[in-house]
Amino acid sequence: MKAFFANKGSLALLIVPLLVIFIFGGVYSRYMTAQVEVHAEEERIRQEEEAERQFALELMTMFPEATEIEKRTVASVEKSYIIPGKAGANPEDFFSPIVKKSYLVSDASTDIGVIYVIESHGNKSGLVLVFAIEFATNSITGIQVLEHNETDTAAYFRKLGTEFYAQFDDLAFDVPVLVVDAVAGATYSSRGFEIATLYAREQYAADFDFVIPVVLVEANDIDYNLDPDTFADYPFVADITYGTEAKNAVVYLALDFSFAAMASGTDDLSDFEKLEIKNLASQAGLSTLSYFSSYDAETRTVVMQAKGYVTRYTIQVTFVINEDLTAIESYSVLSRETYDSEYNELYTGPGVPYVESKMITQYRNGESIDTIAGASAKTEPAILSLIDLFDRFLGSLGGGE
């Protein structure tokens, strides 16, 4: 050993450090290379945070006097809505909006509001809206569209103009019924906004000390108005119980179910209660395709209208009831129908008002009413509705079958 070092000492002195460099340096440089990835990851995170911060600062400008913004977590809210344009028939027709982010905004001294970034569903999914809600007034102070997949053309999404957005300014949550007026041509998008707004309110209520006001209206009965004195003006009549004191009232409704007049009871319904009545009525399954025009008790003549294929003109049917008030004595039809255009070609029967007459004749004869090819889409339901309404009326007169 000693001899070895005496001879090869300098050789060892040269080779050993070289080996050390090789090994130590190798380890060192491997470490360095490994660190590259680590740093890249670090930087990615840092950049994300930075972007996030920038985003938040951007949002903060929705509150002019805000000085600080801070991310917050939200309570979970389970609420689903029918996807705009869907019937709500099966589970796939429903969706739940998602609160993607939420921030608490404060000025120098206190928290002044909250921001929700909510993903809703308009015509398409992915309609992301930002709501700024002020604590002091419990109202929306600003709204922004962050992302959307709507059809962004003048015919659709762009129809949502200044006027549409203006309705969100100071839109108070503190009302029983929150309505967003839809824009024709962009109804689904409008509905997407409405759903997001409703959901924002739900979330707001879940997160903060806020209760959504409710309207107490119960429908005992909602039906067609068969009273010949009033039915021309008020096609529907509703028997309701309302308010915290459970008052009773009978009210007349217009053809669009909106409140029209009191039939009995005191006229102290609030607008929201009236709205709620309309809401309930529209869900009652009543047809608005036909209605009465007049009734002459002496001649026992009923004039009715029905909305068929042609929208400009209604189909007018005049019934003369027999003296027993049990059946049709005669009738006449005044119609300008062209029957359903898409089936027009298929329609091979005689001219107007063949369909109307045939159906009414079948009704009068107590036969079952046949479907007529070429008029089944519009004319037929209109006449069916008319016949049904007439039948009810006849029943109310005391006879009929």
């Binding site: 000492g9 300098s10 050789l11 002195l13 040269l14 080779i15 450090p17 070289l18 460099i21 090789f22 340096g25 190798g26 060192y28 440089s29 491997r30 470490y31 360095m32 290379t33 660190q35 590259v36 740093h39 890249a40 670090e42 930087e43």
Partner: protein, 396 residues
């Protein structure tokens, strides 16, 4: 009667005076490397660490890396002395030989030329190519034709650049993190885009001050123009290098780049400035174009060398696909060192004679042809106005 020693005139030698001689030259050279080493450390280590982007272990790496470069070069040269010189195998003998052979320097410079994330074994390979192949196999210090560090660098560059890229590439940790650099060195961008335009070439790195300060991507030491200028001043004051050579070289590159810029429709002074501040022109000018062994020794030769070097650099840089240009042109010029030295030595000693003018004219014609070719090629590449092209074609 006393017997005295023999010797050769002159008996006074500058080298005998305190603070003179080869050792001092070597010391001065090492001191001159210091600004760049420190710069490299600062840029790639200290600053990044202070920014909080890397761990302390990583902070030391650039410095250690450079040191290892020098050290491995030293050891390898020691080994080759050990093998070839059987008489001087003792430690003392080896030390003495190493002492006089400037053995640290190839490795140090090589390390400065490599990117930070170069694996150490690649460095060792480069040091081997530099110290053993380029230096010792040529007969050791003073006999090598090619700049050892440069040969080592090119060997690494041609064979192992993929390895370096795989290990983290040309960027320091700070820059890995900045996406806008996209991993490319400034000249890489030029080679890729062939576009002379401030927005593509300079703007991604901020402004030209960053080029001067060296905060742009690149090898460890090559980007620190300011540090290199400091070293240049030191070298010139200490007479380690001939002060004029780097100036002539850089001046040539500057002038030709400017011309090319003008042809390409951008006469801005930024372009030549950019050109000399990137791709190691500064580093090459101060540390390699002046490397004594492999460049001409007489003053005229140095001038000629620097002029040709500048023309070649421009040629390679703007025309070839070598974004660097400096290294390649240096190696090429290394081959011509001897003829240039010989020719210019003849001219210089002959004085202003006819033969001198003939030879000088020959050199001028050669240089002119080289420049004209470079400009002509550049003109075809960098979308020039047709008039200049026709003019140049006429000249050719």
């Amino acid at each position: 009667m006393a017997r005295f020693a023999g010797g050769k005139a002159p008996y006074l030698r500058i080298a005998d005076q305190p603070g003179q001689g080869t050792n001092v030259v070597m010391r001065d050279f090492l001191i001159g490397l210091l600004p760049v080493v420190l710069f490299a450390w600062y840029k790639n280590g200290i600053q990044v660490y202070l920014d909080g982007n890397i761990a302390i272990m990583e902070m030391f790496y650039p410095f250690v890396f450079i040191l290892l470069g020098g050290l491995s070069s030293l050891l390898m040269e020691g080994l080759s002395f050990y093998i070839t010189d059987k008489e001087n195998r003792s430690l003392k003998g080896l030390m003495k030989r190493l002492h006089t052979s400037f053995s640290l320097i190839p490795g140090l410079i090589l390390a400065l030329l490599l990117p930070l994330y170069t694996p150490v074994w690649v460095l060792l390979f480069g040091a081997f190519m530099a110290s053993i192949v380029a230096k010792m196999l040529f007969g050791g210090f003073g006999h090598n034709i090619f700049n050892p560090a440069l040969l080592g660098y090119l060997a690494v560059g041609f064979t192992l650049s993929g390895v370096i890229a795989a290990a983290g590439g040309a960027l320091n940790a700070s820059e890995v993190l900045v996406d806008t650099y996209a991993g490319a060195t400034p000249l890489g961008i030029l080679a890729a885009t062939k576009q002379i335009d401030y927005q593509t070439l300079v703007a991604p790195y901020g402004n030209l001050w960053n080029f001067l300060l060296g905060t742009i991507p690149g090898a460890l030491g090559e980007t620190g123009a300011l540090a290199i200028i400091i070293a240049y001043i030191w070298f010139s004051v200490r007479k380690v290098i001939k002060w004029s050579t780097p100036l002539i070289y850089i001046g040539t590159v500057f002038a030709l780049s400017w011309l090319i810029g003008i042809f390409a429709g951008d006469a801005g002074i930024w372009f030549p400035t950019y050109s000399i501040l990137s791709g190691g022109v500064m580093f090459g000018a101060v540390y390699m174009a002046t490397e004594p062994v492999t460049t001409p020794k007489n003053p005229w030769g140095k001038v000629v060398f620097a002029l040709f070097l500048g023309a070649l650099t421009v040629l390679f840089r703007f025309i070839g696909n070598f974004p660097e240009g400096v290294g390649t042109s240096l190696i090429v010029m290394n081959m011509f060192t001897m003829p240039i030295d010989n020719l210019t030595a003849q001219m210089r000693s002959a004085g202003l004679r006819k033969a001198t003018f003939v030879k000088g004219g020959l050199l001028v014609v050669l240089l002119g042809a080289l420049i004209a070719y470079a400009l002509f090629k550049a003109s075809t590449i960098y979308s020039l106005s047709i008039i200049t092209r026709i003019f140049l074609q006429g000249v050719m």
